[in-house]
């Protein structure tokens, strides 16, 4: 690939999968600002290393770069504690409980509106260790195949499978926990 062609290729690729890249950034970094900056970093890095793209799944290649940029940001963030600014939802662990209405189990479903259900799932996802969270997001939200996820995470497929299984089990347990909580809050 010539330099110009590979630049065009990266530009096109990044724009086509910009939502996926940004979404991954949001789930890994928590806030809009960092996610956008990480995608920006990723774009620059991708254009620089376009020559190293050796065929295969282009979306997975691009998302792998985005992920690396996110992890680099997380790394500097953990070294520099002043910048901790994860989304609204990880603020307090008791927040999920606050969102739940204290009423009969029967009409709980009706009472929790979409925003509350959304806050609940975001809360539980953000509570998951990052390796399970990213595997779940890539599979369930971005709908990547095992092999694509393995390429993004740079791990063997077996690791992808075990992380997905563990992530799903943890999330199911967490959701069941708040569901049980709902009932006990009733009269």
């Amino acid at each position: 690939m010539t330099a110009a062609a590979s630049q065009d290729f990266v530009g096109e690729l990044a724009q086509r999968h910009l939502d996926a890249a940004y979404s991954l950034g949001r789930w890994l970094l928590g806030n809009e600002h960092d996610a956008a900056d990480a995608v920006h970093d990723a774009f620059l890095r991708a254009t620089k290393s376009a020559d190293t793209y050796a065929g295969g799944n282009a979306r997975a290649w691009w998302l792998a770069i985005v992920r690396n940029c996110c992890l680099a940001r997380l790394d500097t963030r953990s070294r520099d504690r002043r910048n901790v600014s994860i989304d609204d939802t990880t603020g307090g662990s008791d927040r999920a409980e606050q969102l739940l209405p204290h009423s009969e189990a029967g009409d709980v479903e009706d009472r929790i509106d979409h925003a509350q259900r959304q806050a609940l799932i975001v809360h539980h996802l953000n509570n998951l260790p990052i390796e399970f969270r990213e595997a779940l997001i890539l599979r369930e939200i971005e709908e990547l195949s095992y092999r694509e996820i393995a390429e993004v995470l740079q791990t063997p497929i077996g690791t992808v499978m075990s992380r997905l299984a563990r992530g799903r089990a943890l999330l199911q347990k967490a959701l069941a926990g708040t569901a049980a909580g709902k009932v006990t809050h009733g009269p």
Binding site: Q7, D8, A14, Y22, T47, V122, Y146, M161, R168, L171
Partner: protein, 262 residues
């Protein structure tokens, strides 16, 4: 399919990573097993919750504009560099270019004159060893992964069409379970930059990879080689060249090769 296998296959089935025959087997088990049905419904509920309730983050317009601008700037830069140069080339550049060109042309002529057979030979030997290195590396990579196969099947009628759908090549798939070499499944792997089908067999504790190679690929592959206790043995699979990589000992390997020839 017993319950334990079904449980292991459940997420694969749910994620659409199980081949057709294994899916059918799994569904047959599902009809009889309430536990597996409940587990599957649980996974489906979780997926629905995630897809319905988890927020979809779309890239903000500001970011989209930023990337668009960067991409456009980069595209125009890579176009404008040669344009600007050709616009007004400095005089010394032309001079250097002409001497350089003469030098290169001389070099090419000399190397041509020295004769191509020798060059071709030296180029071919590394290609062969490179291929062998790739094959060993693929085998080790597969061993390091939790599962050395992409499609789990002991049924050769499943493995063959699976390959056809993935790489457009349908290798001859034979099962030698009766002779002690059990077909475990198949996977797609890279050899150099080519995607090739790999048939995976098991013999006792040994894993055997049979790489189905492109025509003329084995031409420059040495008869057989060994590395770190692993052996590589080229063979023909029907009319396709192939190569076996395994850690079996020489006698067992020979037996396996003979099975293919029979």
């Amino acid at each position: 399919m017993d319950h334990k296998t079904a449980q292991a296959n459940l997420p694969l089935y749910f994620d659409g990573e199980l081949d057709r025959a294994a899916s059918r087997e799994f569904e047959a088990h599902l009809d009889e097993c309430a536990d597996c049905r409940a587990a599957l419904i649980g996974l489906d509920d979780l997926r629905r919750t995630l897809r319905d309730d988890a927020p979809r983050h779309t890239a903000p317009d500001l970011l989209r504009k930023r990337i668009e601008k960067l991409a456009a700037a980069q595209a125009s830069r890579s176009e404008s560099i040669p344009a600007r140069r050709s616009h007004r080339p400095p005089r010394w550049l032309a001079y250097v270019a002409s001497t350089l060109l003469a030098f290169v042309a001389g070099g090419v002529a000399t190397s041509l004159w020295q004769g191509s057979p020798r060059n071709a030979e030296t180029a071919e030997a590394p290609a062969g060893t490179q291929l062998a290195r790739d094959l060993f590396a693929s085998h080790w990579r597969a061993l390091a992964a939790t599962s050395p196969v992409d499609v789990v099947s002991t049924d050769r009628h499943t493995v063959k069409p699976w390959f056809e759908g993935k790489v457009g090549v349908a290798p001859v798939v034979r099962d030698f379970a009766e002779q002690g070499f059990v077909l475990v499944g198949g996977r797609i792997d890279y050899v150099g930059s080519a995607r090739v089908p790999v048939l995976v067999y098991r013999h006792g504790q040994h894993l055997i990879d049979v790489f189905v190679l492109a025509e003329n690929a084995t031409a420059n592959l040495a008869a057989s080689s060994a590395q770190n206790g692993y052996r590589l043995e080229p063979l023909r699979l029907g009319d396709q060249p192939a190569a076996i990589v395994t850690d079996m000992d020489a006698a067992e390997l020979e037996k396996f090769v003979r099975l293919f020839a029979s």
